[in-house]
Symmetry: C2
């Protein structure tokens, strides 16, 4: 969907420069990562990027763009997987890289106020010195920025324990499309005074304005961490194990991940890491606990594992006690997407789906691709269909690894897979966002009244359609 807005001219560039804004323009397309997304699937065509250093500079930029009808694509760490941060044609790129100050950390209340360009891992390292952690964590933490985490509503690895950004974000500073600064950068936990406007920007993927700063409720730093990796034969066993974990590990469970056999093989093959278990298993399960008293936490873990053995649920188990080894297991887990990417052209799907339907989906996809003579047959162009996910928060990642992007694979998969997920009451995007492509499938899981309300909100807040046009709900 092409925007009717105009492109950036030399006069615009001069205007930004005269306002003291760092602007980079290229007669060709911009190099670096600006026009290529993390998985090398989406490619942008932008020639101009601005690097504001302050909220006031962001306001100057948007005000000018709104008046001049120039479209703007906001970029954080550019680690998204849905193409949301890629300029589709002549849009201006707005990078938040240089807005990376920590504005405040209240060590009594545990509230952090940080600018949008702060790298997630750096924030976490900083607050750990004060006995806190950032309550969101994900594979891209070395690269992603907190503004992007908020804008994509990233759920991540420890949602199970720390919950949603809709609960943990206490306030936002947002520059609206017309340049007005919407200051809702509150640091209070309870607040019931008026509509919670900031919530609209959580997951808006830069379509309603630019998030310039975030106020976050931090979680206390755990005093002890436990990790166990389990080998399992079937998906039902994972579900039973999860129920037992909730009972016996209770409030200390902090992550519960699974990945299937082929995912494990790909990480070993393409990343060169050793498998965390010695034997081959249909499923690997990683359970992490975090607590305030190591002796209690290990005892709970022991009782839990004893129960699993008594119920004959596990084949092989490895209790990891050494922090360095724990880091290696997490590194193995975090390389899953990269390993898939290296193994071929990765069509990646990010669904929310009730646990009871998750394995069924994988089987349905394989059968569907086979029926279309794309998988598990002589002329197959699909090499692998895999899934891994976060148990307890409904989120699975499904990968179809093919010889090429798009083409017959995409045609067979889409919209079929989105229809399947919608029909099973799932969501077409759990934590990666709608981005450039998935808005068109939104109606498979959201009702027309809801989608129309989303579109009305977009028109209200961005009447000139300058913010990330043609993406997200614009495609719905």
């Amino acid at each position: 969907m092409a925007s009717t807005n105009r492109g950036v001219t030399q006069a615009d560039i001069d205007y930004f420069a005269s306002a003291g804004i760092n602007v980079v323009h290229s007669n060709e397309q911009l190099g670096g990562t600006y026009n290529t997304d993390y998985f090398n699937k989406y490619h942008g065509a932008s020639q101009t990027i601005v690097f504001p250093k302050s909220t006031s500079q962001v306001s100057t930029i948007l005000s000018h763009c709104n008046d001049s009808r120039i479209s703007v694509v906001t970029q954080g760490g550019n680690s998204g997987t849905a193409g949301g941060a890629m300029a589709q044609q002549h849009e201006l790129l707005l990078s938040l890289r240089d807005m990376d100050r920590i504005r405040d950390l209240d060590v009594i209340s545990g509230v952090l106020v940080a600018e949008a360009g702060c790298i997630l891992e750096s924030l976490d390292e900083h607050v750990r010195k004060f006995e806190y952690i950032v309550p969101v964590d994900l594979g891209a933490k070395k690269r992603c920025m907190i503004g992007g985490n908020v804008s994509t509503n990233a759920g991540g690895l420890r949602y199970l324990r720390y919950g949603s950004l809709h609960g943990n974000v206490l306030g936002l500073e947002v520059v609206l499309p017309d340049g007005q600064v919407l200051d809702s950068l509150f640091t209070l936990k309870k607040d019931a005074s008026g509509y919670d406007v900031k919530q609209l920007f959580i997951g808006a993927e830069g379509t309603l304005g630019v998030v310039t700063a975030v106020s976050l409720a931090l979680a206390p730093k755990p005093q002890s961490e436990q990790l166990v990796v389990l080998g399992m034969d079937d998906f039902v066993t994972i579900q039973r194990t999860f129920v037992l974990a909730r009972q016996l590990l209770g409030e200390i469970v902090s992550a519960f991940e699974f990945w299937e056999r082929r995912c494990n093989e790909l990480v070993v093959q393409y990343e060169g890491y050793s498998s965390p278990l010695s034997a081959t298993h249909e499923f690997h399960v990683l359970i992490e606990t975090r607590g305030s008293l190591a002796r209690h936490d290990w005892e709970k873990m022991g009782l839990f594992l004893a129960r699993l053995r008594a119920e004959q649920l596990i084949g092989e188990s490895r209790v990891v006690r050494d922090p360095a080894e724990m880091g290696q297991v997490w590194l193995f887990r975090s390389q899953m997407a990269n390993a898939h990417m290296k193994s071929g052209c990765m069509h990646v799907y990010d669904f929310s789906l009730a646990s009871k339907h998750q394995h069924e989906l994988l089987r349905a996809v394989k059968a569907h691709l086979h029926k279309h003579r794309l998988y598990a047959c002589e002329q197959a162009v699909v090499r692998d269909v895999t899934f891994f996910g976060h148990v307890g928060d409904d989120n699975i990642h499904l990968q179809v690894i093919a010889d090429e992007f798009g083409g017959a694979v995409e045609e067979a998969m889409e919209p079929w897979v989105y229809q399947w997920v919608g029909a099973h009451k799932g969501s077409v995007a759990a934590e990666h966002g709608l981005g450039a492509h998935k808005g068109q499938f939104l109606r498979y899981s959201k009702s027309p009244v809801l989608v129309d309300t989303m579109k009305a909100l977009k028109r209200l807040l961005d009447p000139n359609d300058i913010m990330n046009p043609g993406k997200h709900v614009a495609r719905a």
Copy 2:
């Protein structure tokens, strides 16, 4: 602010009746509790009330009212304290009392779908049979309804542990002012597909539509509970104790309440309960923990209390082990508002404020009322100025008990106290909502751009201003 909408006529009543809707009309004002709020402060003047039994009936009602420009005030358990559920003039009352079905409980994922008229305590009792609890709890639980909890964004007693409704509400069914049903009744934990529209209705106090059903992420039922009541001499000690609780009780802390001496005396005097401690203390502190293994939890409590004693932080402590006694202590705490109400005309304030300013506020209010010759002087009409609150979530309740409502006390207090709170970066409403009165003070704690955005959202979603007109942000 008088609405220009018209009142209910006999023809409207006939229309509702012909559609099978239970409608009650009185030539005088309606009796019962419909026109009197819980604290007997706000009084309505409605003559007509409807009791829809289904979402479809709510849709019929709103569609008719929108076409006919009849204003609608939604009522749940009518336990609010801000007058939000009182009809101000000729509005139609819409009670959700008869929409009290539990639609679904997924015992694996722990997601409850319930209609808005379900009583909070009944829901909690129901889900406890399946090893879950409802993650919100408050003093009015025997009367308040889940739709009202969501609509006022009730935080309650265990926010510290279970977090915000913005995180725990997974979906809503809302009838929009024009009668369209906005179905966002999802049961998925992670979802990043489009704007999170449902968030706008959390805390909207019935100004954007009628919440007819709620999907809630439940919390696991604790396997053990611990309770301790502490006597303390000053507010600084409470803060230090909270820091130690976070360290030593960690993930099992589930409530941390304080109330000052006079609050304790009022409950003893007006409710006839025994004080939970034997001596008189400037402050009482109630700490509750909930965990999955009693032996561990009690051991942590022991370590915590030993540390408090070592630091000489407590005067008297009472560890409560018997569940019935725990119930009595909670009952004592929950009678705080009632006892104040019985002691005189209660001007109640519900602020969020950084902990470091909370005691300062109480002192400032006393000094201010004294300066106005209303408190602690010969002609005083103010009998008591008290506060109690939830430590760790920034929320305090401040009471000014006077001989009369309104008058000189209200004039002295307002807008002065809202300005004071705004100037100290607090919020004018933490969990009771803006209701009939407090919208006018919103600008002391929210920026003009934010307030204007709220008003624009109201115009977008309720263009005919039929939903709870003249309240909430309409007064801002």
